[in-house]
């Protein structure tokens, strides 16, 4: 007798969480490129029109951002307008959950073979630095220290709070605009 396999509830919850985190991170990457000079300087050498994707293999949640020039990013949801230039692919939903719930640092996830890089490695290194900088801004220090290899020693509380507030405001605004447009 054929029976339909039921997906466990925990797996569904993780899928929803990862999906939501990608939506937040995509918008936050756009926001941090508008707020922080250091991120802007890191992003500037990327080619204009460069498309960066993070996704869960084989066809799971994803985020796509574009470098629109001068160090600024634009969030494209999960749809890429052209072929992707650089993709960081989590091999499984569980691996994405470990990283996005800050149980495993991004650098440790790379070392643990949780992810594949498809594209120019030097750009992947640069994008990892940008993701680390973003996480240092938007996460409480105690959580950020679990997410990044080294918390930036020169990031003082006032700068962190002001930047985080601006990033979260931009993320919320983008969410509202998206909801109104749909």
């Amino acid at each position: 007798m054929a029976t339909k396999h039921l997906r466990p509830l925990g797996s569904k919850a993780k899928r929803l969480y990862v999906n939501l985190m990608f939506q937040v991170m995509g918008r936050a990457l756009q926001a941090v490129s508008e707020v922080d000079d250091e991120v802007c300087n890191e992003a500037r050498p990327l080619p204009t029109g460069f498309l960066f994707q993070m996704m869960v293999m084989p066809k799971g949640a994803s985020l796509v951002i574009e470098h629109v020039g001068n160090g600024r990013f634009k969030y494209h949801s999960s749809e890429a307008p052209r072929p992707i230039d650089l993709s960081i692919k989590f091999k499984h939903l569980e691996h994405a959950f470990l990283v996005l719930s800050f149980q495993e640092k991004t650098s440790v996830a790379f070392a643990n073979d949780r992810m594949l890089v498809d594209g120019d490695i030097s750009y992947a290194v640069r994008m990892t630095r940008i993701l680390n900088r973003l996480e240092a801004f938007i996460l409480p220090k105690i959580v950020a220290e679990r997410a990044v290899k080294a918390y930036p020693p020169n990031l003082q509380l006032p700068e962190k709070l002001i930047s985080a507030a601006r990033i979260y405001l931009k993320v919320a605004t983008h969410f509202i605009k998206t909801a109104r447009a749909s």
Binding site: A111, D113, R114, L116, V117, D118, I121, V125, K149
Partner: protein
């Protein structure tokens, strides 16, 4: 530093020891190969290193169908296409790469084209693009350092676009690596020293960087012990066949270690210095190793301290307080470099190399920051940190 998860993979058959080359015909025919091609460079051929390989095959009635002996030090897509055309014209069915890193990488790239078809090597560039097993591929290393005979990567320059194309696939791993001391017995002292220090660096970084694991640790420590013991012996007596074999095996073990655990900042700096200043890779490794270990020290104190056992032996290890072992390991490596400098003037600083100018340090630092190896360095390094390591490495 412990890892909750790791992967380890090495399906290469290692054929090592006296008369190892004579096993090639049996191993090739057992894979159904009857028409092998040799890929090598002019230096290897001029040194007479092909003679025992060809002789070993002919004695068993296996004809080497053709030989391409013009692989340049920095191989290119056009060279790979030329060799692939020759392979197809002569209806070859297997490749034996004889040489150092460039000949081996070229052999891997040729095998992609002749197995997958076509002439566009670039379309196979990247990680995991190759999906099928390739034709039989054997490697006979003629240096003891790169470990390319057991790695699943190759780098080939696309001269039309001016970029280096990386290829990563487990299908690039050779079917067999043949380690025969006859292949390294004529290596000049400075190349023996630089390539051995390359293998040493592979091992030390494999043991101290983020992706270390119990299996790569075992290979790394065994390689360090062999290099520490046999490099001085071979430098004193270059014709020491047993010592040469030990160094060649150490190089292969170091290759297995680092290809399963990756490397760190020493390699990031070495790749950048090689690209900008054209300094040989092994020399770069020897040059940067102690300075990077000093930078990483507080993050790797425990594993680096453990290495003293393999670098200086049990007596020194037990006589050194646990809290000083990491520093003692760095001191042992510095002592090794000082001895090599006295024996063959292997440079210990960028200044001593005579090929790097001070104003190139900034460019080296920027390029090193974007190198993939830096991801696996145990301590985060920003531009200021990398620049500080380079300042230390400039004059010691």
């Amino acid at each position: 530093m412990s890892r909750q998860y790791y992967e380890f993979f090495c399906p290469v058959k290692v054929i090592a020891g006296k008369a190892a080359l004579e096993h090639i015909p049996y191993e090739l025919t057992s894979l159904g190969a009857k028409r092998p091609m040799i890929v090598t460079d002019k230096g290897v051929r001029a040194a007479g290193l092909l003679d025992p390989v060809i002789g070993a095959c002919e004695d068993s009635g296996l004809e080497i169908v053709c030989i391409f002996d013009d692989v340049p030090p920095d191989s290119s897509t056009s060279v790979v296409r030329t060799i692939a055309a020759l392979y197809r014209k002569e209806k070859c069915d297997s490749i034996i790469a004889v040489g150092g890193g460039s000949a081996i990488d070229t052999g891997k790239a040729v095998n992609i084209l002749v197995s997958e078809g076509g002439d566009d090597l670039a379309k196979y560039s990247g990680a995991g693009v190759i999906k099928h097993p390739l034709n039989p591929f054997f490697v006979v290393p003629t240096t003891a350092g790169t470990g390319s005979e057991v790695t699943s990567v190759a780098v080939i320059t696309d001269e039309t676009k001016g970029v280096k194309l990386p290829f990563t696939s487990s299908f690039l791993l050779p079917n067999a690596a043949i380690i025969d001391p006859r292949m390294t017995i004529t290596l000049p002292p400075h190349i023996t020293a630089a390539t051995a220090m390359d293998a040493m660096t592979h091992s030390v970084e494999a043991f101290t960087c983020m992706a270390k694991n119990p299996l790569s640790d075992a290979y790394a420590t065994a390689a360090i012990k062999k290099i520490s013991q046999f490099l001085p012996q071979v430098m004193d007596n270059p014709k020491d066949t047993d010592g040469r074999l030990e160094l060649a095996q150490a190089s292969t073990m170091a290759g297995i270690a680092f290809s399963n655990s990756m490397v760190g900042l020493v390699h990031a700096l070495g790749h950048a210095t090689g690209a900008i200043c054209h300094l040989p890779h092994g020399l770069c490794m020897s040059l940067y190793l102690p300075y990077v270990l000093e930078y990483n020290l507080e993050t790797i104190r425990q594993p680096l301290g453990e290495l003293l056992l393999y670098l200086d032996g049990p007596e020194v290890y037990s006589a050194t307080p646990a809290s000083r072992r990491a520093e003692a390991s760095i001191a042992a490596l510095r002592k090794m470099r000082d001895t090599l400098y006295q024996q063959c003037e292997l440079p210990r600083t960028l200044k001593e190399s005579g090929k790097v100018t001070y104003d190139q340090l900034e460019a080296i630092a920027h390029m090193a920051l974007d190198d993939g190896a830096i991801m696996f360095n145990p301590k985060e390094a920003d531009l200021k940190d990398v620049r500080a390591v380079l300042e230390n490495a400039w004059a010691g």
